[in-house]
Amino acid sequence: MQETAENIIIVKDLVKKFGSFVANDHLTFEVKKGEIFGFLGANGAGKTTAIKILCGLSYPTSGELSVAGFDIYTRREKVKQNIGYMSQKFSLYDDLTVYENIRFYGGIYGLPKKVIDSRANDLMQRLGFESSRNKLIRDIPLGWKQKLAFSVAILHNPKIVFLDEPTGGVDPITRRQFWDMIYEASHDGITVFVTTHYMDEAEYCDRVSIMVEGRIAALDTPDHLKKQFDAPSMNEVFIKLARA
């Protein structure tokens, strides 16, 4: 189990400024390989800014960052090849079919057609989507879309998958099935970096960080956080921190 101790994300003194506004104020943290890491914070606390930087979409103002073993300043393209990303707002093309979406993303990540086809078949079988292979995305239920979007985000076997509010709006049973998929990916060694506004989901994470006004105000396992803040649930931990 030596591998699990490996840090797949290392962030040291990350600062990001927009003009005089400090969106990320000296963030320092590490994420271990295979970990489910919850990245929480109030609206406007600076989560999206940090995620964009970790995904290689925006440069930090200062700080040292390594993602999936690659330096974020000099090896951004390597970072992008080794991560997956899924958000509630944008993930699949509505006017492409289920199969076309899989092929499109597989192509973007440079997978050979043979590999794409075998993974597509495997994926549709696992999700029970075989009969919907040629349906347009806009015609399948939201819960299916989200499961498919997650599967597509890890189609190229990335080292890390970033999930930005992946479960918004879905029913409580689908939401739990979605978390079963997250656990499975984590068991397969994929590191999961997830944001959510559902505080019960924070409790499914191995460790949770909570951002307040650009800083990390707390970072620990859900159990330790509840003890530290003398709160029965992560919801109350969050409220105590964000209101302080």
Partner: protein, 310 residues
Amino acid sequence: MLETSVHVEHLTKRFGETLALDNISFEVGKGELFGFIGPDGAGKTTLFRILTTLLLADSGTCTVVNFDVVREYRKIRNISGYMPGKFSLYQDLTVEENLSFFATIFGTTIHENYDMVKDIYQQIEPFKNRKAGKLSGGMKQKLALSCAMIHKPEVLFLDEPTTGVDAVSRLEFWEMLKRLKAAGITILVSTPYMEEASLCDRVALMQAGRIMTISTPQEVIRNYPLSLLSVKSGDIYHLLAELRKYPGVHSVYAFGQSAHVAFRDRNIEKETLAGFLIKNNHKSVGISPVEATIEDCFMELMTTPALNGE
């Protein structure tokens, strides 16, 4: 019964092959805080658009404060406030310009009705010259609510006002709703967050165009038909899988770091279950009876076949 504020009977609406609302009936009393709880696709937005006279139903009748949504739609528009699920204010107008615009449309001014919105508007007034597009999620929500209320409506329709908003802003929003309710305004609010049900006087749990149940949140929980245990161990992933194999189990759902396990049988031996888990290598096993949450009730209703004909 209270005076009726909103009355809906046998309401049905289709979009092509999709049955968005399937024969829905309910009543909301004057001054009530009534919640529609359900995921995307439940029909909440369609229902609100029909009640705010923006969409016509296929069949059924609806009245808002005794006005018919089809024949008397203009009257309804004057007495109701609507906050759509999607932020619909003018992003390139300032906070104050947006509020002033809505006041003017309804033939009033911010000054005249300031009392009505004061409580909420004061929180964003320091930013009144900022463009609406530049506000944070929580502030946009407060501005949208102020705009929905500037004409002193009798009934408020709030479509998912707390979706995508952080837990603290959500809490503050519900505190505002409580104060509005105290001022006598009837409030219909929809939300996908199950735990917000407990903040309503009564709720309708909705799924796929149907109302599965209507009641007070306390009553919904009392009607939960199963016996429920909360089970913990070090390894939730394997715990869920193992529990699903246990004889007599009806359902197993993750709730934070524990699992809620439902049985039809009221006399489940905790010790036997604990023994089973320990035998399967689970450590630090904890089992205790637990009261159902609205989410437990919702999931149970979702998987119960609907009764045909009411």
